[in-house]
Amino acid sequence: MKKKAVIGIGNPLRQDDGIGIILIHKLLKDKHKFPPNIDFIDGGTGGMNLIHTISKYNLIIFIDAVNFNGPNGESRLFEFKEINNKKVSVSNSTHSDNILKVIELSIKLFNKPKKFLFFGIKPFKTNFGNNLSKELYEKVDAIYENLIKELIEVLQ
């Protein structure tokens, strides 16, 4: 069984909220650049179904639109403790309550994942719409470059 996964989360019908899905599909095309023991998964909008996926892996990197204290369009890798730390103005992702609860449930019931990280992208717009905002669309290549750099560091 593969022990590591990268999971993209988001709703492509809510503009920039779909960035996690766009990035995971770019990664699926480039997966040959990574070791074979890593799965790349389109996690959709999450929900309880995700527990069956995430409880299989020791290490998971989630990719999602996250509203954190930084400029729109910035991307950063967060540790779980940063997400939980209320003093740091890192608020949760648009699916956070759900995802964090499902992750918590998975850890408590199945002791997995052992470690997880969030690669967050601060969105410009999350209204209804089936395309990224123009502003975020123009930053996708740079965000993807940053994502690859972070993944190589974490996954190697």
């Binding site: 959709g44 449930l105 019931l109």
Partner: protein, 434 residues
């Protein structure tokens, strides 16, 4: 007791979609009691017009993220009916497996994750972690995983199937895969009986409430009807021609809901697991029948809260039925042939199946190029909204002397008993601009 009550639940939790409960009582007299649906209509029937016959299944699957297999099957049956396409026996058995998988997925999710907290007296499933009932939660998660894996195998995906196509299956599971699934189902059957014991121990927390109503669903001489059968009512029996479904399902609009209501002989009726049980309980497989007996569930049961027990009974039935389906497939030998060839032609077809929340109808008209010119979908939850409203109107006077928070919880539990899929049910409203 004459008191004032103002309850405004916006929105009811642990259901799919957004619905509100409004109750205003003044000096003991009910002034307003409404089960309101406030979501925007979806316009799927308009969306499929102009699309080719082989696209409709994919589009209509998206009506629901829970019943996507059921919508796919109703859609395929309607298209195959319109184009005179005969499916093979193997396809019919595989489709029965698909509908069993969806029923299992949906029922265990609803009973295990959404209803169980009410029975345990907690707000959600999460406090079960670390409690004396953690083991029950692990079993529920295991059964949910089994149901998802079964959907993956038969339909190619947990949600929004990709292998179900007009005339058959694009990919068929192998004998090895089916044998492995059978083993897991047999193991799941034992686990389900253990979960049923846990639910039985807290089933006294289901409110003791009854209201006589009509139940509508599919029925068949051959089996406990889910994929095939005749439309039937506990009041008036079978409908002779399935294309006359509108004579049983009369949709209408009410001012406080964006979802349509429906009625037949009475001013409302109920569809779903309890309706199917009330119509077809004699055809349940033996262990499912044992579980029904365990809860003293007998037809005709008029307690809507027992719909959740009927869901558990059906879960057991779906496992038993799936094991039989797999045995038949293996006995006959699995044919990896492609779906039957399809030639577009003009026609009108109706597809009716049972999905977790009740009877579902897709009705399509195609022109001679196989392009859809007209569509109608009747969604189960639409058919239940009027019955929920009528239940509330009888239930509130019985609980009016309870504290407000208990009245609120009881009304929420009543809504959850129906397992409403509200987003699906926000349907189509004729708007006339004056």
């Amino acid at each position: 007791m004459s008191k004032d009550i103002n309850i405004d639940v916006e929105h009811v939790t642990r259901v799919e979609g957004h619905g509100n409960i409004v109750l205003n009582v003044k000096k003991g007299k009910i002034e307003k009691l409404q089960w309101q649906i406030s979501e925007a209509p979806r316009f799927f029937e308009a969306m499929v017009r102009g699309r080719k016959f082989n696209e409709l299944r994919t589009i209509t699957s998206r009506i629901c993220g829970i019943c996507s297999i059921g919508h796919s099957l109703a859609s395929l049956k309607a298209t195959e009916d319109a184009l005179d396409i005969q499916i093979t026996e193997q396809t019919g058995i595989l489709r029965r497996l698909a509908i069993n998988a969806e029923n299992m997925q949906s029922h265990i999710l609803h009973v295990g994750y959404l209803v169980a907290p009410d029975l345990f007296g907690i707000g959600s499933v999460f406090p079960l972690v670390g409690s004396k009932n953690q083991n029950a939660l692990l079993k529920i998660v295991k059964l949910h995983r089994l149901s998802n894996e079964m959907s993956d195998l038969i339909c190619g995906r947990t949600t929004h199937p990709i292998r179900l196509v007009v005339g058959g299956f694009s990919i068929t599971p192998t004998e090895i895969e089916l044998s492995k699934l059978k083993k897991n189902l047999e193991d799941g059957l034992k686990t389900t009986k253990e979960v049923a014991e846990v639910v039985k121990n807290v089933s006294g927390n289901f409110p003791d409430f009854e209201r006589e109503t009509e139940y509508i669903g599919l029925t068949s001489d051959e089996e406990y009807a889910l994929y095939d059968g005749d439309v039937a009512s506990t009041d008036t029996g079978r409908l002779s021609n399935y294309k006359d479904y509108r004579s049983y399902m009369n949709e209408f609009v009410v001012p406080f809901s964006t979802a349509k209501h429906a009625k037949h002989k009475r001013d409302s009726y109920m569809v779903g697991a309890l309706a199917r049980f009330n119509l077809n309980s004699k055809q349940l497989h033996p262990i499912a029948q044992d579980v029904a007996d365990m809860f003293n569930l007998r037809p005709i049961c008029y307690n809507p809260f027992m719909n959740n027990v009927a869901q558990l009974v059906e879960f057991v039935h779906n496992i038993e039925d799936s094991i039989k389906c797999i045995d038949r497939l293996i006995e006959y030998g699995i044919n990896q042939k492609k779906p039957v060839n399809v030639s577009p032609k003009a026609g009108h077809g109706v597809g009716i199946v049972e999905v977790p929340r009740g009877i579902l109808v897709h009705d399509y008209t195609y022109n001679n190029k196989g392009i859809c010119t007209k569509a109608n979908c009747i969604i189960p939850t639409n058919q239940n909204h009027a019955n929920i409203q009528n239940d509330m109107e009888k239930f509130v006077p019985q609980i009016i002397n309870k504290p407000d928070n208990e009245i609120e919880l009881n009304l929420e539990m009543l809504v959850r008993a129906y397992d409403p899929c509200i987003s699906c049910s926000t349907h189509y409203i004729d708007v006339k601009f004056v």
